[in-house]
Symmetry: C2
Subunit: 388 residues, 2 copies
């Protein structure tokens, strides 16, 4: 594993390894720009076996990060998948070597708009090249190279993580045995692009955004980013979950106040979601990563025929969706399954009954966990995987 | 009909009559404030018959106004219900006397935060009292009084208009024969409150909002209001409609630009929706009217039992919803119908098949129009309505 390099000095406050990638062979992005050398921050859990065959690559979602379990050093909360990754859990760290890296364009140590552009000595800001999901995956492959992992046992992720899974399996089938896209889609829909555009416009409308150069002005477009997060957060839940959690209950009061304070619990909750988010996330990263999702359309480069993205695939797939997810609804997962069936791929599809909406993959969903466990265990047997 | 008064001098640029209301008896609002005298701007279409029995009161939605048909003097587009109101149309102006008033709290001539507070000689701004849907209806009743109309033949409206219809029928059943709530609900859900809160936060995050006093500073919180409108606009459409209208089509370009311009048609469309809205709507009105909708919960003052809001109602109801409306879904209309059935009210319920989402009641929906026509014609026969 690489150690923190000079490029990563700003990130040394974050615990965990940093890989310096793209030094010998630069990363050619879809936009044409070549990136390198660059830093990628990641975490690993469990041990790599001797055959280097038990790695699971976890791809995180829009606002996720590499800290899957244990205390997150920024939020000081449990890692976002602490119920899934660990000894005896579905991603069993006694059997598998679990890797998760902050995506390029992110803000948790990997190269992104808030990091220093070595050519200027200043943060990249909007000078950072626009990236795609395919670029994120290419960076993950460079990381795997640096770790000496030729082929991962499994690549898994929810939401944008699931987009990376699909891209990985489509473009690099020789480097993965099994793929688990969860609550994902092979393209971003018009409605999802629309919600992202609202978020971006909210950020760019904030005068403190300073045309993307707020770092130089010692400012943070907190208000815009908070509004973006609030709008997005609604789309991660379901109407039923919001009703169950909050309904029309009032926040610490007996009656409405006839004013614009947060009378309702749901308002108070949303405001908290917005204000806590700006403490951990970079506004420009939000622009770049949402853009990458908007651009994602796996069928587009195959004449619009998604099946062609998986022709002759040797990868075993387990596609999962949640009934109440309206951001990445089951119908989108079915499109993926249909395409995979169209090329006679090895694919299981499970729609999990849940009222928790899109965020269900992050929450307490035993049926999801047991399905995941079963698929991984079965796949490990087929591969003849040895535990360390 | 009253003529424009001194209170209405700012509005004299707007065509149409203005009523001066609440002079003898002030309007007592739910928040306890008494309002009056105040101006209400309205429009009428068709002729009132001698018995004064053929009036239809149309209640407009959040961003609607009194200009139902003909050229809107502000947008210079056709009125928002020009396909529904007119000779031979469902709200047949050869048979009915159609009235539509700008709601209190609005910004099209009726008293609201941008109008002058006579006590200070300055715009009300956030000094305007917080209003409720019930207050809006009370103001409509004062207008009906001033027009000499004891009882309307029908009260009808979509979305917030439908909330007014339900409130009107519940609180003032002696003043209405038939009621048509369309794409409405008897309470605002947690998800809908959440979306409204995002919009309000976007407006209040804009420094040009100036704590609500932007009028005095010669500013307009355009960016915040545009973001609010963009977020709301998505909720008015359906995923299917967005897909059909825009899909992932690019805006006047062959390929994505790897930037943050509006690459996709849906982005360009949303930006236009935002920027054109700020030219016609007052940001503070947006705060007040969304708040009124959030507060709406007809069952709340009846121990949570919606049926009790309609005990012994003599009103004939026709409840309508649209299959793809996810903001005011059919389930909410069914709640209303269930409550009405519970008190053996005269109620028809029609769910219209449409992929146009919540906005379907504003759009080309022949099945909606024919149902509406049929219900009005039938009700007119039962009432023995004479045409003028």
């Amino acid at each position: 594993m690489s150690q923190p390099t000079s490029l990563a000095t700003r990130n040394q406050a974050l615990p965990g390894p940093f890989a310096e990638l793209g030094r010998e062979r630069r990363l050619r992005l879809d936009c044409g720009v070549e990136l390198g050398p660059f830093t990628m921050a990641y975490q690993t859990y469990g041990r790599l076996n001797e055959a280097r065959s038990n790695a699971i690559l976890v791809c995180h979602a829009l606002t996720g990060d590499q800290y899957l379990t244990g205390e997150n050093p920024v939020t000081h909360k449990e890692g976002w998948w602490h119920e899934v990754v660990g000894p005896g859990l579905p991603l069993d760290t006694e059997r598998y070597f679990v890797i998760c890296a902050n995506v390029i364009g992110g803000c948790m140590g990997t190269i992104g708009p808030k990091e220093i552009n070595p050519q200027s000595g200043k943060p990249w800001g909007l000078g950072f090249p626009v990236i795609t999901v395919a670029d994120m995956v290419r960076a993950q492959l460079l990381l795997l190279d640096s770790l000496g992992i030729e082929k991962v046992f499994c690549v898994i992720g929810g939401s944008m993580g699931g987009m990376q899974v699909l891209d990985f399996a489509s473009r690099h089938p020789e480097r993965v045995f099994a793929a688990v896209p969860v609550a994902a889609a092979a393209r971003h829909t018009a409605q999802n692009i629309a919600f992202h555009e609202v978020g971006r416009q909210a950020i760019m409308a904030d005068p403190d955004w300073c045309g993307g150069d707020y770092y130089a002005h010692g400012k943070v477009p907190s208000r815009g980013l908070a509004v973006a997060r609030m709008a997005a957060h609604i789309t991660y839940l379901s109407e039923a979950a919001l009703h169950r959690k909050f309904g029309r209950r009032l926040q610490d009061r007996e009656a409405v106040t006839y004013g614009f304070d947060a009378d309702f619990e749901v308002e108070s909750y949303l405001r908290y979601q917005g204000s806590s988010f700006v403490e951990r996330f970079d506004a420009n990263s939000y622009l770049y990563i949402t853009r990458a999702m908007d651009y994602f359309d796996l069928a587009a480069e195959h004449d619009g025929v998604l099946a062609k993205a998986f022709t002759n695939t040797p990868v075993r797939f387990c596609v999962m969706s949640f009934t109440s997810d309206w951001l990445f609804p089951t119908s989108e997962s079915r499109e993926v399954v249909r395409a995979l069936n169209g090329v006679a791929a090895d694919v299981s599809f499970v729609e999990i009954e849940s009222d928790k909406g899109h965020d269900a993959f992050l929450l307490d969903e035993p049926e999801f966990w047991s399905t995941l466990s079963g698929f991984l265990t079965g796949s490990a047997e087929i591969l003849g995987l040895r535990t360390p």
